[in-house]
Amino acid sequence: MLHISKHNLLSLLTHASSSWQVFCPSKQGSTVNFGWFEGTVDTVAIPVNSCKGAFLPQTEELFTYRGTPETGLSLTGGFDGQKPVLIFFARPCDARALTLLDRVFLEGEYADDRYRSRRARSVVVTVGCKSPLDTCFCTAFGIGPDSKAGSDVFVYEDETSLYFEPLTEGGAGFVAAHLAYLAEGGTPVSVMEELRRAELPLAGRIWVEGMAEMLDSMFDHPVWEKMSARCRGCGACTYLCPTCYCFSVFDAPRGTHGKRYRSWDSCQFSDFMLMAGGHNPRPTRKERVRQRFMHKFNYGVKRQGDYLCVGCGRCIRACSVGLHAASALFDLKEAGR
């Protein structure tokens, strides 16, 4: 297998960044976050945010306009010619989450042109998870430390080196373009074995089998009231979630010109569904928390054919009051018995 010494990783990425937009984890102040490569990379920590921002940026311009409705308008806002995206060091949960986002943005009658153009030529390099955190429960969703779904290259990490296993044509292309940095030989057998054996401490407590069907009859269950009582109504869980994708569209007028943007939005915000006339179908935190988890564990299954959760545990780390996918799955299971 082709491999690279960890010392040389930075030079590989620096080289890669001339023809790719590299999205990787790096230390930012007190945390490790995914972001565009700026000369540093952190291959150890699991970033607090997900890599969805590489394809669905938190804020992006849809167009710039000049003029006014009264005097006439012109819109400009082409979107092309960008370098392809390289996700460098997704985790198996991240890679799998991208395949779920693909179902939302690429399938059906309306594909999203911006998402598609970023995603089309992207390469996702995923590293096997040797030390899952206390918050990891990907195995509940059929993912594991060595899962390859959604990845173009899979990387095995031992003490000194990273071993590259290309999985797709795109992945092979990426590896081929960086042969100068890679040495031939060796198979990280023990790492492979370690990944197969890696245990997730939460695995025994989380159970999703039959959850979607069970929730069909739980829309009016009192458990939602109980779960949502502690919710603070912020959007941390949704913004850091690798499979949440809701957005809003808004204008920023500046006299006779301006922009239209789209930005992430969160179903946990009170005005998410507030209509012009003042009607709000989800007026309290109960409805909003229910929407979040029903979307993940019931609506998503009906619409996208799978749970919209990959067990990455980011909401567990994000929530300051312990209301997250794992606690929800646990509470719902108890309530649905």
């Binding site: 102040g29 030390s131 009582a229 603070r232 912020c234 808004f250 930005s263 009170s270 009051v321 312990g322």
Partner: protein, 314 residues
């Protein structure tokens, strides 16, 4: 510690049985058995769920806003300041509250337990140490090395006296003065360096409003930042708007921040929000001769003035 918990359970149960409260906010065991989370109780029979909160204990004051009154609350001294804040901001009435104050030895921040010690099964305080139980056996860490940042500027570990029931086991953490050296560091930077530092920090902000929603001084029913019109803050998460947001948030709580640090604890991306809040706190203390600006007062620092306030403008 257990004694305190037993006393607390009893006090909560009797608040219900005496008809003093219709609801009670306290901590209960979280999804992770060693951490706690907020619980809103509606009957005395739930009092068994009450926990003291050794680790990752959220502050509870703000839950009072939406609870059926009269409402009960269990507070540590830092949380008591938040309650006091809400009372002075006329969000809740003191006579609608039933306050049980407890002493507090500090609260563990599980994020400060080294990664290598994960797979925690239980946490235990033993004297000046935290014992972390994992599958591999117990490890001792110095108590002071694992406390939440807010405990490092503890207003008082003793139970607050403005309470209907005071439960103090005498093991409260000694108060610690606010350490302003972090503020000094920032002030000593060159302006461009300072700007670059904040730019980098604010670039991480995802605008989830966890800080605002956790803050006992941010208690408006409808935040002006959520209004589409006038648009004080656009939804665009771009740097100028990040400065706008963080300036507005910090300025809005200037003179009212109780220093509880719950904003910083709630921030999922680790922004040093107290570095912003404390800058105001310190300037208010030095410019207006206020002693410990964290303590809520009947008259807001920025809701009043003195004729001989410093005159820098001409």
């Amino acid at each position: 510690m257990n004694d305190l918990r037993e006393q607390l359970k009893e006090a909560v149960a009797s608040a219900f049985s005496q008809g003093r409260v219709r609801s009670f906010v306290c901590l209960e065991r979280g999804f992770y058995p060693f951490a706690t989370m907020p619980a809103i109780l509606h009957s005395g029979s739930d009092a068994d769920r009450v926990e003291i909160g050794l680790a990752d204990a959220p502050l509870l004051a703000k839950y009072l806003l939406d609870m059926p009154k009269p409402a009960g609350i269990v507070v540590r001294s830092c949380d008591a300041l938040g309650v006091s804040r809400l009372i002075r901001d006329r969000r809740v009435k003191r006579e609608d509250l039933y306050i049980i104050s407890i002493s507090c030895p500090g609260v563990v921040d599980t994020a400060k337990i080294p990664m290598s010690m994960h797979r925690i099964t239980a946490l235990e305080k033993a004297g000046d140490a935290l014992i972390v139980h994992t599958a591999l056996g117990p490890t001792e860490l110095p108590w002071s090395s694992v406390l939440l940042d807010r405990c490092l500027a503890c207003v008082s570990g003793a139970a607050s006296t403005d309470a209907d029931v005071v439960l103090d086991d005498g093991r409260g953490k000694p108060p610690a003065p606010v350490d302003y050296s972090e503020i000094d560091e920032v002030e000593h930077m060159a302006p461009d360096e300072r700007y670059a530092m904040w730019e980098k920090e604010f670039a991480k902000c995802i605008r989830c409003f966890a800080c605002r929603n956790a803050c006992p001084a941010c208690s408006c029913r409808k935040c002006s930042l959520d209004l589409p019109e006038p648009e004080w803050l656009s939804r665009a998460v771009i740097l100028p708007e990040q400065f706008m947001f963080h300036f507005t948030r910090a300025y809005h709580v200037a003179g009212r921040c109780v220093g509880c640090g719950e904003c910083e604890r709630a921030c999922p991306v680790g922004l040093p929000l107290m570095k912003l809040n404390r800058k105001f706190t310190r300037d208010i203390e030095t410019l207006f001769g206020v002693d410990d600006a964290r303590i809520p007062r009947d008259v807001e620092v920025l809701g009043t003035f003195l004729p001989d306030d410093p005159e820098e403008f001409c």
